[in-house]
Subunit: 144 residues, 4 copies
Amino acid sequence: MPEAKLTAAELERLAIEDVPFAGGLGVKIVRVGAGHVVAKLAYQEDFVRPGGTIAGPVMMALADLVMWGAVMSLIGPVKLAVTTNFNINFLRRPSPGELTAVGKILKLGARLAIGEVSLFSGGEHGDLVAHVTSTYSVPPRAQD
Amino acid sequence: MPEAKLTAAELERLAIEDVPFAGGLGVKIVRVGAGHVVAKLAYQEDFVRPGGTIAGPVMMALADLVMWGAVMSLIGPVKLAVTTNFNINFLRRPSPGELTAVGKILKLGARLAIGEVSLFSGGEHGDLVAHVTSTYSVPPRAQD
Amino acid sequence: MPEAKLTAAELERLAIEDVPFAGGLGVKIVRVGAGHVVAKLAYQEDFVRPGGTIAGPVMMALADLVMWGAVMSLIGPVKLAVTTNFNINFLRRPSPGELTAVGKILKLGARLAIGEVSLFSGGEHGDLVAHVTSTYSVPPRAQD
Amino acid sequence: MPEAKLTAAELERLAIEDVPFAGGLGVKIVRVGAGHVVAKLAYQEDFVRPGGTIAGPVMMALADLVMWGAVMSLIGPVKLAVTTNFNINFLRRPSPGELTAVGKILKLGARLAIGEVSLFSGGEHGDLVAHVTSTYSVPPRAQD
């Protein structure tokens, strides 16, 4: 099992500095493994949408951040990795509370990284509220 | 050609009141037709991401708002319409400036509305930077 | 744990009778649980595509059949369930041999069923070659 | 306007020779432009699925073939271009008759080509029955 190429603290700092729109939401990185990231997002009032649930774009921002972190956990803090495709299915309306996102890389290739992110209402054993698959384009690497 | 069931001003107000996370970004609704919405989003510093471009979740929030408006342009301001699927392909890195989103409904059925949103850097004739398809679940309607 | 509402033999027969395009490929249903289907597809010469690998549409047909079976495992052999969205990411080129598909339902709602299918080269512990998420529209049910 | 790098007749022949699973369905290439392909598929009995409509995987196979042709219309008959993502929304049940597919490339980059395919029941002005977006990975090119 390889080691992750960045720590939870480093990812949390990079998120705030480099992607302030998502990083500024207050995402907490719970843990980072090689190709694996878990994060939490506390509820804020402006996340609401009709029905007393959480707006879809909040979940998208959280999932995209976790996917980005999962890519960097394998290739290091390479800032120019960019999302090329992001597909989300919304399964259940989350209650207005904490969200937990669990992301993992399914395949890291020479050019593309593909992964999935599961979003839960509450903790990791809460209800699955959304499921994401996403592809990142990764810069050429010297060696892998 | 049927008339839109809400105006640009109504959609802009609903966005701010009902979905503050996206509505609070400062989206301007340019025009609304039946099944058709055009909106603009001015650049803000915290939209940045590495490479001097605009973060993906900003584009997702804009596109989801436009799709929501396009659904309501056909069924009226029914607050409980919710996204069930959202798929975005990022085509080019937008420069850090205004984005324009053009959304249209491809099919309004009894249960689901499916549409697409094209995102341009600058105005409607700028570069296509992202393309979205999305499905909304719509509440049962009395008559259609 | 609820019981599946159809057996592997019933699903294999329905596939051949009702969806001959995919069912006629020779898909073997390995097992069916409630919301869970595993199937295998032996290689045939006309599945080839350049690079000595298996054509994408063969994998799509297999995955869609498995998803259809997983829906019916929960709601019974309701023929009018139809795919509304199907999203596939191709991860690795499979070698020209047997494929195994493992499908499970992530959420069964009143109107929609959402699931994922993982496709492996060889058996269930082979390389993950493609990953699918898919949504089915399900007819109204008397009771659930 | 650049010229297409292969003709309709060449694409039809390549489809039969190189991707026999889809090519063998009897797809007719109506026309090819640079980044643009139109094709037709006559109905066959084994395309049926419950409800008297056409099975989803038939539409997927047709759309993937058209997207492949649209990529090759820009880069030439490069056999190793492969689908990385394919997302289809089914909008209406087609009647059991001819399908027409209209594909166009939205962006051709150094590594990826992204396009969309619209599927109509009957001719190009028939009902839109399905909409596809798809990404191809394209081999490095000497010059563009």
